[in-house]
Amino acid sequence: MDIMILSAPVNTVSGTALWRSLLLLLCALMLFVFSVGTAGAQTQRLDITEGQVAPIPVAIAEFTGPDGLPSEVGRQISQIISDDLVSSGLFSAVDSAAFIKPPESPSIRPDFSNWTPLGAKGLLVGSAFLDADGLLQIEFVLWDIVSQRNITEGGGSANQSGIRRIAHQIADFVYQEFTGDSPYFDTQIVYVSESGPRDRRVKRLAIMDQDGFNHKFLTSGLDLVLTPRFSPTAHEVAYLNYFNDEPNVYLLDIASGRTERLGSFPGMTFAPRFDPDGNKLIMSLAQDGRTDIFQMDLRTQSLSQLTRSASIDTSPSFAPDGSKIVFNSDRGGSQQLYIMDATGKNVKRISFGQGRYATPVWSPRGDIIAFTKMFKNEFFIGVMNVDGSGERLLARGFLVEAPTWAPNGRVLMYFKQEPVSNDGQGGQTYLYRVDITGFNERRVNTPADASDPAWSPLLQ
């Protein structure tokens, strides 16, 4: 899954591919194997950290059935792939109406002279149909139109509940080959779904694919729940639950729906985050007017105290290598960001800009930290380097909060709340995502108001 394979000097005469296999778990019942070939073609690369770039035009043919004509499931899959790629802001889909007839099957080499005039850099061709047993049979080839070479190909089968995931995985291959970056389409979002009057808001945990499909609720709404966070396997969610009017951090097993309260303390636990290995949780414990950061061993549920001050220390987030923790504290008089060793030692303030800073989240790449900033009656989502330099603001609004990273560290999701009038009108609360260069801000579709998003790692 990295660009080294692409840039490896594989000299191929006839586009013969270097094969590798990837295990893809599509659902609990079905394992299936994708063979992916990569050739040593020079593909288009871009570095979005340099700023806004023109999107890469790709042509995504409707996947065909055994008769060589687009199949119903093939059209659906092509649409999902196209929507994923376009949503990143890094790709544009060549209008299929402008298509010259694409090859009738992925095994046929396209006539590249038909595609070059359309400006397309890549052409994705595939077949997809349901066999006699109702299983999806799928194959695809990604062509580099400039070098006229096959860059990636693969195939497999899945039951029908896996159709969307297969499509996201193919979109991930295309994204990876053309950006040289790790992908993020085969991921999920857990968040808080909101409904009801402003002063008695009903909040439920909900989960969905990153494109908003396959939405389902995880809690009933009976208890107030806040701030869900994925474990590194994406199998569990840690969150704050007001069950019995005793706010505490709980763990939810997504597959079984089982919940477990994490320990019992004389005080309120909240603001949970997993360590990169998933063996520990860091969180806040508020007691007697002071809030400190603690670490819990998830096997023994034993606690160790990391900060010890009369101030509020909260919103801790691990560096991806587990060596450091960034957190929010008012120990200097106002909310600012601090970094400390994972042991709690060597606390150092990093935010020195104007205003108050909160909700720091370490990028999965390790090099920057996302945060919420409050300044002059406005809220902002921004990023800064780990030493506090290089602050850049990516989104603003009356209330924007709670950034969460796509697993490749290229996209941030957060929520925005509009102002509420005295009669309770307004206050729309929605999820948004933005490229870390600050362009391509898009609303994420949810069935109701939504807050506190958490992006999963790539699914396994």
Binding site: K216, E246, Q335
Partner: protein, 169 residues
């Protein structure tokens, strides 16, 4: 899509069965009292005071809410006056227990405001204890910015929402 929820709902229904007796909101200031508050208030109301008022009404008449400045948990003179009356009331009714809910306005981040609400509730409790109320009679909880008393994105509403509310428990 509903179908896909069914296994989960079945699981949460079991869970829910265990918690129906508990409160869902617990917001002391909410006009729609939740079931456990209603129960607590029903039992408390059997202890009528000298004036024939329920304990709940007496607490309301001495003032159940104190307000705070922005990002502050300091008790103002006015807040201290209210808490002096609360302390006197609680000492006159030694069997009552209370829950102090700490709240914040919406102009802060969720997790920080949970801590700020706890700080406000603790400051309120500490004042009552200093005035002689047994700390074992007081439980505190923070709702952060989750349960505003006044709806609206303006300073008037925000100033009413930065509060600690004492309720019978």
């Amino acid at each position: 899509m509903i179908k896909r929820f069914l296994p989960l709902l079945a699981a949460s229904a079991l869970f829910a069965a265990c918690e129906t007796a508990s409160t869902t909101s617990g917001d002391a200031t909410s006009s729609a009292a939740t079931s456990s508050q209603a129960q607590a208030q029903a039992s408390a109301s059997s202890e009528t005071g000298s004036a024939g008022l329920t304990a709940e009404n007496q607490l309301a008449s001495v003032g159940d809410t104190v307000l705070f400045g922005f990002d502050s948990a300091s008790l103002t003179d006015s807040a201290q006056a209210t808490l002096n009356r609360q302390a006197a009331f609680l000492q006159a009714s030694p069997t009552l227990r209370v829950l102090i809910g700490g709240h914040a306005d919406e102009r802060g981040t969720r997790e920080y405001n949970l801590a700020l609400g706890e700080r406000r509730a603790a400051a309120t409790r500490d004042y009552l204890v200093a005035k002689g109320v047994n700390s074992a009679r007081i439980r505190i909880i923070s709702y952060g910015k989750e349960r505003p008393m006044a709806v609206g994105s303006n300073e008037s509403a925000w100033s009413k929402n930065r509060r600690a509310v004492t309720a019978l428990n």
